[in-house]
């Protein structure tokens, strides 16, 4: 009577997804808000496309990837808050009395959060396409886009899980949200890096991994198959995922120091 890690992951992931869908007051605004921001910015910032050197002529095309970033942010707070709440409430102790492995909790929790984030990404993509987004790389590009978005969800989700495992406090995880939010803004999320006028801002954006995530996804929408941009995007996403996951796993193992 012993379960494989994959089975354990399945149980934890299913629980996480269930929990999320049973809190519509949390879910609906977090899905709706990025769309709303997209709608507002696509129109409000459209005149930015008149700047010399702006890629393409639709700010909607330029901004659609921002929704995926917000979806990833949601994955981070979901994965983190869920895990921290389990630690605070003692639910983790309950799980620990079963043959569950620490890594299975982590993967399961991330899988749950990323499933929800991927669902959100599909909604964003569908709404974007209906609103007139054109993806120059076509269906294949859209799939790669969803893949990269999912990977970014994993990356941010593992940061959230690391925070949770480390602090064991859902309040601390909530504090992560503004922090990540700030790093979003200090990137090329609103304007291409070349068009950022202020030198230090451009430097910061260039050093900010978020820029490369955004630019990787954006290349699929507006430039075409750009190997360099994709490599940087996937590279950053993979690197953050690995580092985040390793840190989260190590913290969680310490916390779950059962004998």
């Amino acid at each position: 009577m012993s379960t494989s890690v994959a089975t354990q992951v399945g149980f934890i992931a299913r629980r996480s997804v269930r929990r999320t869908f049973r809190q519509p007051a949390v879910l609906v605004p977090t899905i709706a808000f990025p769309l709303f921001l997209l709608a507002v910015n696509a129109s409000g910032l459209d005149s930015a496309t008149n700047l010399p050197g702006f890629p393409g002529d639709s700010y909607l095309d330029f901004a659609i990837v921002v929704t995926f970033m917000q979806g990833a942010l949601f994955a981070a707070t979901t994965a983190g808050t869920e895990l921290a709440t389990d630690i605070e409430s003692g639910f983790l102790d309950r799980l620990q009395l079963t043959p569950l492995r620490a890594v299975a909790i982590l993967v399961g929790q991330l899988a749950g959060a990323v499933t929800v984030a991927l669902g959100g990404a599909a909604v964003y993509l569908a709404v974007g396409l209906i609103a007139g987004v054109t993806i120059v790389t076509g269906v294949g590009g859209a799939l790669v886009l969803l893949g990269l978005a999912t990977l970014i969800g994993v990356a941010f989700g593992s940061i959230g899980a690391f925070f949770a495992a480390r602090t064991g406090s859902s309040q601390a995880v909530q504090g992560l949200f503004p922090l990540l939010f700030v790093t979003f803004f200090l990137s090329s999320i609103n304007l291409p890096r070349e068009l950022i006028e202020i030198d230090w801002f451009r430097t910061v954006a260039g050093a900010n991994p978020v820029s490369y995530l955004v630019e990787g996804m954006r290349s699929l929408v507006i430039t075409g198959w750009d190997a360099a941009a994709l490599l940087r995007g996937f590279g950053v996403a993979v690197a953050v995922s690995i580092v985040g996951f390793a840190a989260a796993a190590s913290s969680l193992r310490t916390r779950m120091a059962r004998t």
Binding site: A39, L45, Q174, F185, F201
Partner: protein, 256 residues
């Protein structure tokens, strides 16, 4: 002091004390406007080069007014959160029992909202000046900007108080945030009204936030524009939402 005044001062005092003692509450309130100022005034400054863009005092001042009014509105929204939290913790029930004048509760929350805004407004202003924002308006005009912002702050607080006295739950927080965000952003946030495109162009002229922004920007550049419209709109909203908040209080009294 009258019972009304006593209650108002007591509620405002407690509310502000709770806020300023809790870093989890006060840090976001201080950091978010700064991030917006940084991201908009800094990151988007190239927008001033969009053909047809003209604002005499430069892009930093242009965005400063938005962030200033935004933090005014969010000072009110955060006060709404506090009301919801008070109801969830059961503290509000105690307040309702103890307060000799319950209308004073609303006034107390309004004062607390103004207090919050005073804090963020100072931070944003210092940051703006440090970033080299150009101020062309005189004392009267800057006073006008401040009064306008306080009115916006009061409007948001009254909305938050009215809503949260009805729902009495933190679950309603999104329903408080989203409309305020909506109104703020369905306006000429990044470029002047005549450069807007798409559906916002159709909505923005009817949005009171557009009037607040344009008038505010007029104040800071020393060229006030349709001041009367902006203040009339703000005054009307204070009256309307004041009524909404008062009805909310009556409903809370009836329910609890």
């Amino acid at each position: 002091m009258t019972a009304f005044g006593q209650v108002a001062v007591a509620v405002a005092r407690r509310n502000l004390l709770v806020t300023f003692k809790n870093p989890a509450l006060i840090l976001p309130a201080a950091i978010f406007p700064l991030v917006f100022l940084l991201a908009f005034a800094g990151g988007l400054s190239n927008l001033a080069n969009v053909p047809g863009f003209s604002f005499p005092s430069g892009y930093t001042s242009f965005q400063f007014v938005f962030v200033f009014l935004q933090s005014a509105a969010f000072g009110g929204v955060f006060t709404g959160f506090a009301v919801a939290a008070d109801y969830e913790s059961g503290f509000a029930r105690r307040l309702m029992l103890a307060a000799p004048n319950r209308t004073g509760l609303i006034m107390g929350y309004v004062l607390a909202g103004v207090g919050r805004f005073a804090f963020t407004a100072s931070i944003v202003t210092i940051a703006g000046l440090a970033a080299g924002m150009q101020v062309d308006g005189g004392v009267v005009e800057l006073g006008g900007l401040l009064v306008l912002a306080v009115l916006v702050n009061v409007v948001a607080t009254l909305f938050g108080v009215g809503l949260c006295m009805r729902t009495q739950s933190m679950q309603s927080v999104p329903f408080l945030q989203i409309p305020v965000f909506l109104i703020l952003f369905l306006a000429p946030v990044y470029v002047p009204l005549d450069l807007l495109d798409g559906w916002i162009k159709a909505v923005a002229p009817y949005n009171p936030a557009t009037a607040f922004l344009e008038t505010g920007r007029g104040f800071i550049s020393g060229e006030p524009d349709h001041v009367l419209v902006a203040f009339a709109a703000a005054g009307a909203m204070v009256a309307l939402l004041g009524f909404y908040a008062l009805r909310g209080l009556r409903k809370a009294e009836a329910g609890g």
